[in-house]
């Protein structure tokens, strides 16, 4: 602590950044926020955009995030980045899609079951025919 604080940027798929930084700027939902050491604990949503990170004795780095959460703790700052583009409507559409797919599968189930039944009956019939054929041959002998 002091002139730097620890920053972690993680997404569900990988850890994007981890290390001490001097300050960072993130696109929070209410507008851009700049975080310096000793920032008050804060939890906010961030929009998709650029996160600017300045590490000590290094050039400023720009990292793209597609939304997520920014968490400021007394001694550590974390950005939980989303890997997918999220919005309420988009999520809703996906949910409806998943539901519909399940309903379709349930509907098709009847035909699928019948198909399996038909196949089983066919196999049985063929076995019977083969047995009759065999018996006939034996009879002729």
């Amino acid at each position: 602590m002091g002139t730097v604080f620890h920053l972690d940027i993680v997404s569900a798929e990988e850890s994007i950044y981890s290390g001490p930084v001097e300050f960072l700027v993130a696109p929070a939902q209410m507008g851009e926020v700049g975080i310096y050491p000793f920032h008050a604990p804060m939890l906010t949503k961030i929009k998709s955009g650029m996160v600017r990170v300045k590490a000590q004795l290094k050039e400023e780095e720009v990292i793209y995030v597609s939304g997520g959460m920014l968490e400021v703790q007394p001694d550590v700052v974390t950005i939980l980045a989303d890997t997918a583009v999220r919005s309420h409507d988009l999520d809703e559409a996906k949910a409806i899609e998943a539901k519909r797919a399940a309903e379709d599968a349930m509907k098709n189930r009847q035909s699928e079951l019948d198909y399996a039944k038909a196949q089983a009956e066919l196999i049985e019939a063929m076995a019977q025919l083969a047995a009759i054929e065999k018996l006939r041959k034996r009879g002729k002998h």
Binding site: A12, S15, L43, M69, T83, A98, A102
Partner: protein, 294 residues
């Protein structure tokens, strides 16, 4: 020499099968490494969001998210079953589905209604065959778990919980122990258990004074978002583990299949040689017998 050609054909076909299983074994081995890596990479995110959720649940008292409230009566249960899309991976899917079915039977005996969300083709096929009511599904995930694909199916279950359609939500998947061992597990997803809400660095926090976040724009919407993402992260981790399990189970199964094919080839070769020798002996004795007669 009547049987020898058939035996030779049989050996050829077994050899072809062995080639295929060996190729699949190698493909699974390389995919397994990647899948394990992905599983490990997902951990930091899960860990971080868990800490946030744990802290929030302790700090903020004015708003309690519905995921944290335990309901007294349990009437309807939602379950999420994670399976693989493809077969040929030993008893992996069978094990997790057997565990699910046993649990479902027990719940049904207690008069609880069950609705299922299927992740993966095998589970979906099984669930629709036995006539469970499937409310949402996602299949064709491929080799990389994609949270974008999972969102929809999971949201149906989470919304069901928020709207009191379910009183509990359970998650079934294969836990990756090591390459040789995968264990089917059942976990309670909702309401979030105390164990889940424990911060991983509890010990360090004790000395400090309790503090709360500044929520922006407002506590409720931020907490809602964190909770949903936390649950999604748990499911994502489960899917990643299941995929790593799938690849290692497939590798082991294909290795066993290749070995078995080798055994079959050995046996068939022995039979083939024996029959060939018998034919030669027979021919020789016929020639000798014929010469003696002359």
């Amino acid at each position: 020499m009547a049987g020898s050609r058939e035996i030779r054909n049989k050996i050829k076909s077994v050899k072809n099968t062995q080639k295929i299983t060996r190729a699949m074994e190698m493909v699974a081995a390389s995919k397994m490494r990647k899948a394990q890596e992905r599983m490990k990479k997902a951990r930091p995110y899960g860990e971080k969001i868990r800490n946030v959720a744990a802290h929030m649940s302790k700090a903020n008292t004015e708003y309690r998210h519905s995921f944290l409230i335990t309901r007294d009566t349990v009437k309807r249960i939602g379950i999420i079953v994670v399976t693989s899309d493809k077969g040929l991976c030993g008893g992996l899917n069978t094990n997790v589905l057997r565990k699910t079915i046993n649990q479902m039977k027990a719940w049904q005996a207690e008069g609880e209604q069950i609705e299922v969300c299927c992740i993966g083709n095998k589970g979906l096929g099984f669930m629709s065959r036995i006539g469970a009511s499937v409310v949402s599904q996602v299949t064709g995930l491929g080799d990389t778990p994609d949270i974008g694909k999972l969102i929809g199916a999971v949201k149906v279950i989470l919304d069901g919980y928020s709207q009191d359609r379910f009183d509990r939500v359970y998650l079934f998947y294969n836990c990756f122990v090591n390459t040789m061992k995968q264990e089917p597990v059942m976990e309670q997803l909702l309401p979030l258990t105390d164990e889940r809400m424990k911060s991983s660095k509890e010990g360090n926090d004790k000395s400090k004074l309790p503090w709360d976040y500044i929520y922006e724009p407002e506590a409720k919407s931020v907490i809602d978002d964190v909770m949903v993402r936390y649950v999604e992260a748990i499911i994502y981790q489960a899917v990643a583990e299941n995929m790593a399990s799938e690849q290692s189970a497939r590798m082991v199964a294909m290795k066993a299949a290749s070995d078995n094919a080798g055994n079959v080839i050995d046996e068939l070769t022995l039979i083939y040689n024996k029959s060939r020798q018998a034919a030669i002996t027979k021919e020789l004795s016929e020639i000798v017998g014929g010469a003696a007669a002359v």
